[in-house]
């Protein structure tokens, strides 16, 4: 301060300078300046009042308009679970990458109306972005570049990125790119029950099976969130302010038992290996309720990867001829694999049909047990040059033996004892020629012509299974009616429907379609059919530890209007335990090679499945479980902040203890494993993983199964 004082020369004596006139002039002009400044300030004051009071509403609306953005909140697609609560299809949150290509067109202009002029692209800038993206997405740079420069206002670059990729893309902070939340479908059990479950396309629409049949219920309703955002478009979501609340899809518990389904699929594979049929398929139901416990066919596909990874993101033009052929073959195979044979195929059932001929004759009192019927020398001409043949020269057979030895002639004679109108009425009552009532896409009703259109031999051929067609499921349900006391049940696959809060919305109850035959007739038929396995054509179907009943079927295939002598449907329909059936099954091989009869090729596989199911049943509690079905967006780890990005390493068992069940499942799926949940989720939100096997950090083994136990907290 002293220095300053020295510089400014404060030591000099002060004296008054300036003449008085000058001072007065300054004083007289000062108010002018003050007045001017006062006016200015006053003007600002008026302007403030105008803006903040008078015009306030207008600017408020404007501010709100630009500060908020309506964010579509996609609903989470409902889960599909098996009857014991195991997840068969779950939805995980993912994000899809899109691009706004006009950022790469410096001369882009909006002309009048819908017209757009694009001009020349800035290839260099686009190339830079493409190079960066190619590194993250594993897509060739050329393909990305092409998408970036598409002359459209909005282009998808890659759908359904995993969290780590999405985070990497977000880190680029590129203006031309954006991420939209979507959910991606995962099938924890891979190809298991693929044809029943179906799959969803990239837009989340159900394409096959349950996913298609119940698409509306599963998909839910998209919501809208009003979110504040800054000028750079970052969202600042501090509270949930919905313009429209999203409704998550409903979850469905199926009647399918994943374990039985697995048993069946294994057996089918074995059947394919042994007899090389075109296809093999099987259905297992609960005969008393009509619940479908398993339904499968070969070949299968993996709904998690509809296309093999090597064809992903590669245009047709990019493939060499060999790969193109491979892709085509794969697409053909998939098309074939997506056919749900047990409900879509109508076939002539052949010998299996004799059960119904016998049951009708018995119910109508046209025959009694032990009655002897002459089946002749294995060849019977019943007029008009139409003959029925048997495989053996049976001679005189009892009623029971007609079924156990599967005599066509015997069945024809039984059939002819019944009045044609009654015969037809009974067949309709068994459900032939009519939809089974299962809500499943592509289901066939089979074909059963009315008596007024019958020709002379129609009733005879009907008696041993030709001239009418049925789907395997249809005939199985009819067989159940014979075995369960005469009740034709409606088959069903969706047991319970829950909303996203876990509240039961709809429960499917077993539906009796018709009492077809009496309890007594049914009991008699069960006795008779025991003989098929103990002494007849179905000896190879004998189960261990439990008695079964059943009927073999070997039907010639009708090819171009001619029955082919060498091509067959080999089938076995059976039920166990014999006295009070709890499982009903049909097993079919379409055009097996080598042995062709149902007794030789289908019966052993029935045994394989039946034994396994019986063992499984003895060893586990049969209580069906109600799982934790609560779904909410927040339950799923969000892709951005999810620590799983850091923790989950592919091929290694992740640390799961203490996590919520859903998070745990997601991490297992992310690590490449197959989650298997033990213990019963108790249905409230606080379901946590209490133990896991294998231990965290261990490499996944070939089966890739990671078991977790959950319990309440």
């Amino acid at each position: 301060m002293a220095i300053l004082a020295t510089i400014l020369g404060s030591s000099q004596p002060r004296r008054l300078l300036g003449r008085p006139e000058a001072r007065e002039r300054v004083a007289s002009r000062l108010p002018w300046v003050l007045g001017f400044m006062g006016l200015w300030a006053g003007f600002i004051f008026i302007r403030l009042i105008h803006l903040q009071i008078v015009e306030h509403k207008r600017y408020q609306i404007r501010a709100e308009h630009q500060h908020t953005v309506e964010v579509p909140i996609p609903p989470v697609r409902g889960e599909l679970l098996d009857r014991r609560g195991e997840s068969l299809a779950i939805s995980l949150k993912s994000e899809s990458l899109f691009c706004t290509p006009q950022t790469f067109y410096p001369d882009y202009k909006v002309e009048k109306g819908e017209e757009r002029s694009w001009g020349n692209p800035d290839v260099k800038a686009a190339n830079e972005v493409a190079v960066k993206l190619a590194g993250i997405l594993d897509i060739p740079k050329r393909v990305i570049l092409e998408r970036l420069l598409t002359k459209k206002p909005f282009v998808w670059i890659e759908r359904q990125l995993g969290p780590s990729k999405a985070t990497a893309v977000r880190a680029l902070e590129d203006e031309s790119l954006g991420l939209l939340p979507e959910s991606s479908r995962h099938y924890p059990r891979g190809s298991l029950a693929c044809q029943i479950l179906g799959f969803t396309n990239i837009d989340g629409k159900g394409q096959l099976g349950i996913e298609q049949a119940y698409d509306e219920e599963l998909s839910g309703v998209q919501g809208t969130l009003i979110a504040p955002r800054d000028a750079k478009g970052h969202l600042l979501i501090l509270q949930e302010n919905y313009a429209k609340v999203p409704v998550n899809g409903m979850s469905m518990q199926l009647t399918i038992d994943a374990t039985i389904q697995h048993i069946v699929e294994d057996a089918l594979e074995e059947g394919v290996r042994l007899s090389h049929p075109q296809t093999a398929y099987a259905v297992v139901v609960d005969p008393n309720t009509g619940e479908i416990l398993a339904m499968a066919g070969t070949p299968t596909f993996n709904p998690n990867h509809i296309l093999p990874a090597k064809f992903m993101n590669r245009p047709m033009s990019d493939l060499n001829p060999a790969e193109r052929a491979e892709l085509k073959a794969e697409q053909e195979r998939q098309k074939f694999a997506r056919k749900v044979h047990p409900v879509e195929d109508a076939y002539e059932p052949g010998s299996t049909m004799k059960i119904f001929t016998a049951a009708i004759a018995l119910e109508e009192r046209k025959v009694h047990l032990g009655e002897k019927i002459d089946c002749g020398p294995g060849r019977w001409n019943f007029g008009n040059n139409i003959t029925v043949t048997d495989t053996h020269h049976h001679g005189v057979l009892t009623f029971e033996e007609i079924l156990t030895q599967s005599s066509n002639i015997g069945a024809a004679k039984l059939g002819l004892r019944v009045d044609p109108a009654d015969h037809y009425r009974y067949l309709r009552a068994f459900g032939f020629g009519e939809s089974s009532g299962l809500n499943f896409p592509g289901e066939t009703s089979g074909r059963l012509i009315a008596p007024d259109r019958w020709s002379f031999p129609t009733q005879i051929t009907f008696s041993y299974g030709y001239g009418l067609s049925t789907s395997p499921l249809q005939i199985l349900m009819a067989g159940c009616a014979v075995a369960n006391g005469g009740k034709l049940m409606r088959p069903y696959m969706v047991k319970d429907i829950y909303n996203d809060q876990g509240k039961l919305l709809k429960e499917t109850k077993p539906l009796l379609r018709k009492q077809v035959i009496s309890e007594e007739t049914s009991a008699l038929m069960r006795e008779v059919l025991k003989g098929v396995i103990t002494s007849g054509t179905g000896k190879k179907a004998k189960l261990e530890g439990v008695d079964a009943i059943g009927k073999t079927g070997t039907a010639r295939k009708l090819i171009n209007g001619q029955y082919d002598l060498h091509r067959h449907y080999a089938s076995f329909m059976g039920f166990f335990p014999a006295d009070k059936p709890q499982y009903g099954m049909i097993f079919m091989l379409d055009d097996p090679q080598g042995d062709v009869t149902g007794g030789d090729v289908a019966a052993p596989l029935f045994k394989k499945i039946g034994d396994a199911i019986w063992r499984y049943r003895q060893n586990s509690s049969s209580v069906d479980q109600t799982p934790d079905l609560k779904l909410s967006l927040r339950d799923w780890p969000s892709s951005e902040s999810d620590e799983a990005v850091v923790h989950v390493e592919r091929g290694r068992v992740p640390e799961l203890k203490g996590l919520a069940l859903k998070t745990a499942i997601q991490r297992i799926v992310m690590s490449g494993g197959i989650p298997e949940v033990e213990g019963r989720p108790n249905g409230n939100m606080a379901t946590r993983v209490v133990s896991q096997s294998p231990e965290p950090g261990v490499a996944l083994d070939a089966k890739r199964v990671v078991k977790i136990s959950v319990g309440g907290q």
């Binding site: 301060m1 002018w32 300030a41 408020q60 501010a63 630009q66």
Partner: protein, 370 residues
């Protein structure tokens, strides 16, 4: 040192200024926290820098409030030295790279300094000195014109450099305050009848032939014409102020500061205050500046010495005119000139210079009514 027998400083002016500075600290934090985040800095980065500048400024203010400005009148060597130094600094800016398309800053040891700010108080001291020194001349027509031309020449060199940066706002401010001082200092009235229109014409031409200035003025006249382009700032500023209403959206709750308003923490901080505190806040800030104006006016009236009278009014005007200019821009009464709000806007040099002006004013206030 002889004991200081003068009156105490003007405490009300000091109070108003410190209140404004406190308001500034709050809203610099409020409007820059987000920006700090995006720039990967702490949310308090801008606040801390401003606070340090405030501490330096207040020390300088305290020191300067103790000097006796009257001595300069007899000893203009100080002014000459400062003038030369400032001109050298103003030339120096052209050796530093452009920031925001202008050579306004000198960067030394990581600190940015804006030399054009230094010239603001200096111009007041120089013009006042000149007007008092040649007070005799103003009544004689032959004598007054050369004297004014020389003064104009003295101002032209630094002002030309400032304009060259380019910094039209500061140039306008200094020119405006200088004109008022020339008027107050006793220059004949007819001069203003001539010089006023000429300056306006020159200014208009100057604006018209520089595309970016022309764009600013045009966008000011019709901000809605191009809401996403040139009119963007003006419109966003109005939305902020208008959205505030009577009571505002609440301190810290401004949405417009989230990059809708460019320069939310500097030139448009008044808009953020308007949005967050509404009419109450905007009028309070306006009232504080009007308060400074009245206290400065009172000092100018009370002080006996005509040099100090001119200095007091000049320094007051520097602060208040700049504030009103800034508010006019925020409220779209005037085209955007890129001028900060004294005591409030972020900017170390600006705050320190405002405090220096305040210090000098306080030192003059000690003479008031003596």
């Amino acid at each position: 040192m002889t004991p200081d027998v003068r009156r105490p400083i003007d405490r009300q002016m000091l109070f108003f200024s410190f209140l404004l500075m406190a308001v500034g600290m709050v809203w610099i934090y409020s409007s820059s926290a987000m920006k700090g985040n995006y720039g990967h800095e702490a949310a308090t980065a801008f606040f801390v820098r401003q606070f340090i500048a405030g501490v330096i400024g207040v020390s300088l203010m305290l020191a300067l409030s103790q000097v006796e400005l009257g001595t300069i009148r007899d000893n203009p060597r100080v002014l000459q030295v400062l003038y030369v130094l400032t001109v050298i600094l103003l030339m120096g800016v052209f050796f530093f790279p452009k920031v925001n398309n202008a050579h306004r800053w000198i960067r030394l040891f990581g600190q940015s300094v804006q030399p054009s700010e230094f010239f603001k108080p200096l111009s007041v001291l120089i013009v006042s000195w000149w007007m008092v020194r040649y007070a005799d001349a103003w009544d004689e027509r032959q004598n007054s014109i050369p004297k004014l031309l020389i003064l104009f020449g003295i101002l032209l060199l630094p002002l030309g450099l400032v304009l060259r940066e380019p910094d039209f706002g500061t140039t306008f401010l200094i020119l405006f305050v200088s004109m008022v001082l020339i008027f107050l200092g006793g220059a004949p009235r007819w001069i203003f009848a001539v010089v006023g229109p000429v300056l306006i014409a020159v200014g208009a031409a100057f604006v018209w032939f520089e595309p970016y200035r022309r764009a600013r003025v045009l966008s000011f006249l019709n901000p809605e014409a191009d809401p996403l382009g040139k009119g963007h700032q003006a419109l966003q500023s109005l939305i902020a102020v208008g959205n505030g209403g009577l009571f505002g959206v609440g301190v810290g709750a401004s949405m417009q500061k989230l990059h809708y308003l460019p320069e939310a923490h500097t030139d448009f901080i008044y808009a953020v205050i308007g949005e967050e505190t509404g009419l109450i806040g905007t009028v309070l800030v306006l009232a504080l500046f009007v308060g400074i104006l009245f206290r400065g006016y009172r000092v100018a009236r009370m002080v006996r010495d005509s040099y100090l009278k001119l200095c007091a009014m000049g320094l007051t005007l520097l602060l208040v005119v700049q504030a009103l200019m800034n508010m006019s821009v925020v409220l779209s009464i005037a085209p955007n000139k890129g001028i900060p709000l004294p005591f409030i806007s972020y900017g170390g040099t600006s705050l320190i210079i405002s405090l220096i002006c305040l210090g000098l004013l306080l030192s003059i206030s000690k003479e008031a009514g003596a």
